[in-house]
Symmetry: C2
Subunit: 694 residues, 2 copies
Amino acid sequence: MHPLFWLTPVGSVLCLLFAWYLSKTTKRFDEGTDIMREIAQAVRQGAKAYIKRQYFVVAVFFIIVFVLLLIISLLKMLPIFVPFAFISGGFFSALSGFIGMTQATNSSARTTNAARKSLNGALRVAFAAGGVMGFVVVGLSLLDLSAWFIVLNWVYRHLPEAQKIQNITATMICFGMGASAQALFARVGGGIFTKAADVGADLVGKVEAGIPEDDPRNPAVIADNVGDNVGDVAGMGADLYESYVGSIVATMALAVAAGLGIQGVVIPMVIATLGVLASIIGTFLVRTKEDATQASLLVALRRGVWGASILVAVVSGLIIYYLLPGHFGIYWAILAGLGAGVFIGYSTEFFTSDHYKPTRGIAQAAKTGPATVILEGLSVGMVSVVPPVLAVVVAVLAAYYLSGGASHPELGLFGVAISAVGMLSTLGITLATDAYGPVADNAGGNAEMAKLPAEVRKRTDALDSLGNTTAATGKGFAIGSAALTALALIAAYRDQILQFGYKLDLSLMNPAVMVGLFLGAMMPFAFCSQLIRAVGRTAGKVVMEVRRQFKSIKGLMKGKAKPDYARVVTICTVSAQKEMITPSLMAIIAPILVGVLLGPSAVVGLLAGALVSGFAVALKMANAGGAWDNAKKYIEKGALGGKGSAEHKAAVVGDTVGDPFKDTAGPSLNILIKLMSTSSITLAGFVLRMTLFK
Amino acid sequence: MHPLFWLTPVGSVLCLLFAWYLSKTTKRFDEGTDIMREIAQAVRQGAKAYIKRQYFVVAVFFIIVFVLLLIISLLKMLPIFVPFAFISGGFFSALSGFIGMTQATNSSARTTNAARKSLNGALRVAFAAGGVMGFVVVGLSLLDLSAWFIVLNWVYRHLPEAQKIQNITATMICFGMGASAQALFARVGGGIFTKAADVGADLVGKVEAGIPEDDPRNPAVIADNVGDNVGDVAGMGADLYESYVGSIVATMALAVAAGLGIQGVVIPMVIATLGVLASIIGTFLVRTKEDATQASLLVALRRGVWGASILVAVVSGLIIYYLLPGHFGIYWAILAGLGAGVFIGYSTEFFTSDHYKPTRGIAQAAKTGPATVILEGLSVGMVSVVPPVLAVVVAVLAAYYLSGGASHPELGLFGVAISAVGMLSTLGITLATDAYGPVADNAGGNAEMAKLPAEVRKRTDALDSLGNTTAATGKGFAIGSAALTALALIAAYRDQILQFGYKLDLSLMNPAVMVGLFLGAMMPFAFCSQLIRAVGRTAGKVVMEVRRQFKSIKGLMKGKAKPDYARVVTICTVSAQKEMITPSLMAIIAPILVGVLLGPSAVVGLLAGALVSGFAVALKMANAGGAWDNAKKYIEKGALGGKGSAEHKAAVVGDTVGDPFKDTAGPSLNILIKLMSTSSITLAGFVLRMTLFK
């Protein structure tokens, strides 16, 4: 084993210890008044209830797939470690989501309480809570990777070196499937839950009954707050866990084909570990003065992210220079990935922040009613696809050619893969700046429900709004890294097939490939259609229940009786669980079906088609949704007639349409793309035996 | 020259004579009362004014491109016939649009007048008018094709046979670019005009002033009627002219590479000619009894289309059997194309007709307001992508393998190309059933403005509604044929590059191809964003002008003064002309830029990416738009509270969003896909010289 590898297990433990330290920090803060505690407790219970049920369903699914994989393995159609790798990927993904969510629900009241004194204090609690999530995700990823690497090294110890590395990476890539399957469930289920609760709460509360957002009389208000935690925290964590692990294992697998040997295999793990250490240092740069404004808070967060990025950029150069002196081009690939990630983040911010023209244009369109708000928002969403695509294109070309792809294509593919690792290397801190947003959002809900003074809500709103900006950056990373990771996974799939001795014809003139592209490009549409409809159906159920409670619970509207919050949570939970099954299965079954009916070349076409179309659709949805949300907030801040005006009503329509766009369908597409690739890889051996198309 | 070729010029002349005969038939009907004449005259003038200006702009563009092509040709980087082929393609496309539109504007008042007596009479006028359009399009296509074929045969008479055919088809494929460039201008310009006028008229007329649709007091009402003619008639005609010609020349070009010789080259022309004759026979089957109902009218129209299709299916079998006895599989490819076209038509109808669940679901969603109408409509639009993609996938695979692609890939590609010819073979009659819709729509406007009795409007509404159904089928054909034609064009592009002795690496593992796919998949988003915004901007101008007229023209609202219709027409015209330039140039410049920067393999990636993503987006937009329109009409017919209810208002928002979806952006995408391919082909020689990527 390469000595530098040992950095990874050590780094992972350090990272988990740091997460534990952050968690301790938040515990030192107080949860505030009794009513604040009570509200936090209700949200916590709701989130736990949801997660319990979600993990039960997922566990059933995992056990079924595990058994199927085991049978296939025992029939010698897959390596015997595959089912275990699959389970471990899913387990750690679920664990990081669970810890992050628990921490988030434990921190919202504390953030509110800190906000009673100062903005800066509130930021510290919320950011620490986000940091727990960020560092747990990367820490557990590296731990899982190290453990498998050590175990497999031992298992294959008798094989010759080349063969050994080959077997190790081929097995490790399979736990990507477990991670992505669990991530898809988390994103889809959480996304349906959160948006159904949100849309349902708004439709009856704000629109019909005319009570403000987060009003405690609204029976859906707790569900809405629970949703932020299960969707935006647990879902996002599982998503990025998967991207992180996926990009690392895909790069390791491609290192073998690129002929880089054990050095190439450990490099992605080492770079990731460096990123983790840099992220930890970065968090210490996030400090502000006591009289911090919103702008100076953003500067503080940015300082942390930039500090970590620069650190990674410098140190990884040294590492590459030392480990792969003949291939220094790989360093430029890492930088290309880092750069593309930052660029996509800024592009997202440009299209979704109310400081810039696109979002303000949507607000202006509210003058002529909801239809023009929708059209303008869709138009913004569509054009927002352009800069990230150009960024990915430049990154891919730079990574490929600078790593030496012109003379050795396999080296070029390795370069593309490692650029994804570069982009995700600072995940610890970027995820921290992202995951703190929902904590702040919940803190605001807590302040509203506990009827705290307006200035508290104002402070949490400032944090929340800042969270929207950092969330935009986070979404940019999630989607950009998904694109690069998927490219790496597609290349790894092809390697896998070639290793089985099967010949591939990946030319666009092969009708199987072309047909695969058509089917792949169709997938995101079929998938999003399902998700959007699921949100609509579930929101409809919430609306009915809220109406029922308004009618049947006496004194509710006067604040003399309490609504039955738990019932709405249960409705969302049950419905989200039911609705998440079909779209998730679609992602796993489509590549198997295409593989069996049309062969592996068509599968590559399918994956490529889903990637390029899914990337565009995901960006469009995420950015249109973000822009609608902020256009509404812009009007609420007083522009164009402010709250309650006809313009505001028109903007609310845009926001409601945008909700499932940006928090359900858009982000789930990231995972769809990757899950299709990872399940193709995992099941490659099996599908090749079954294919009708020899 | 092959004797069967002479069928084509003869068929084209027959076809044009038949169009002339149909035109005469409509002239025998009377235009009705003075006011009806006057209205018809105003629409006619507006349409002529628009077309005059449009063709002026297009002519300037064509002259510039012609000169550029001429210079490049004189520098020996392109064959000398290319600039002339380019001009002729554009000229005939424009001519067919012009004739169709003139006929349509001449027939609306006549249809209204006939509707004063009976539904059947009105159908006969409107259908004959649509028939003129249909048969002019196919007649002029075949004429242009025959003329070039004869001329080039003479020019290259001294070359050996193989070389001669090669040169002929290589030149002929270039007039596809002229046809598609003019088609894009017609679709984009017409599409912006028609929807800006429509949306503008609705926003001020229906929403603000509360006057009914087509009310003569609305200054935008004539512009709205003009729009139907310039967008839905002239635009649709140019679009399908281009698909028709494009599919035929691409197939001819591929016949050479497939080694089918002169037989293979004439087959697409012969099949198309057969289709024309079958279509003429089909029109005689469109007859009903005097007491026809809407349902029996649909049966009558369907009888015509089915009759023609069956005729083609039978006779083309004989032709293939006679001409290419060793390759009877090609016949199955033709049938696959025909079948896919019919299937896509039915799928479109399912998703957009208020007889079925999807559209009714949208109407139901109106209960919870405009946001849910939008979400449900988008969801329907997205899932509606699935059946047509499956149809194209099956057709491509069937066409490829049944023509013998497994052993001879080039034969397979020829099979895919000829399946597009099969799909479009009955274009004469399908276009007739499609183009009659706008005539009926205008007839309704005429009835409203002339204040004719309600029963007249009811009859024209029945025709219009039938027109919506047939238009759905027509759009299915337009988009399905665009997909197959684009595939054929991509294959033809590749042949072209190979003939230049350039080596292509079209594998998905080539980063240039993958990057091309990303860029291609992005194109439809960038393009649609522009178009939707253009409609919004132009509609805004219409709104301002209408408001101004309402204020400044005294007695207008009381019906005592006439609005200044012409001014709104001018505003739409000027604005549409300005707005159509950028998106159209985008389609031509993108492949050149990609070719120069990244080489021809990336261009193939670009074209494939644009095809698969554009196909999905176009279907989504067209079907969502159609479904929203019909959901609104369904409510207007009395469902869910009927006209004026909150549900109706919510559905109107959906319809307004859908307008630019279905009549501007969606259909323009068909042409975007093809124009990118044809300009790549035409400029291949030039771009290869310029490319930085050798």
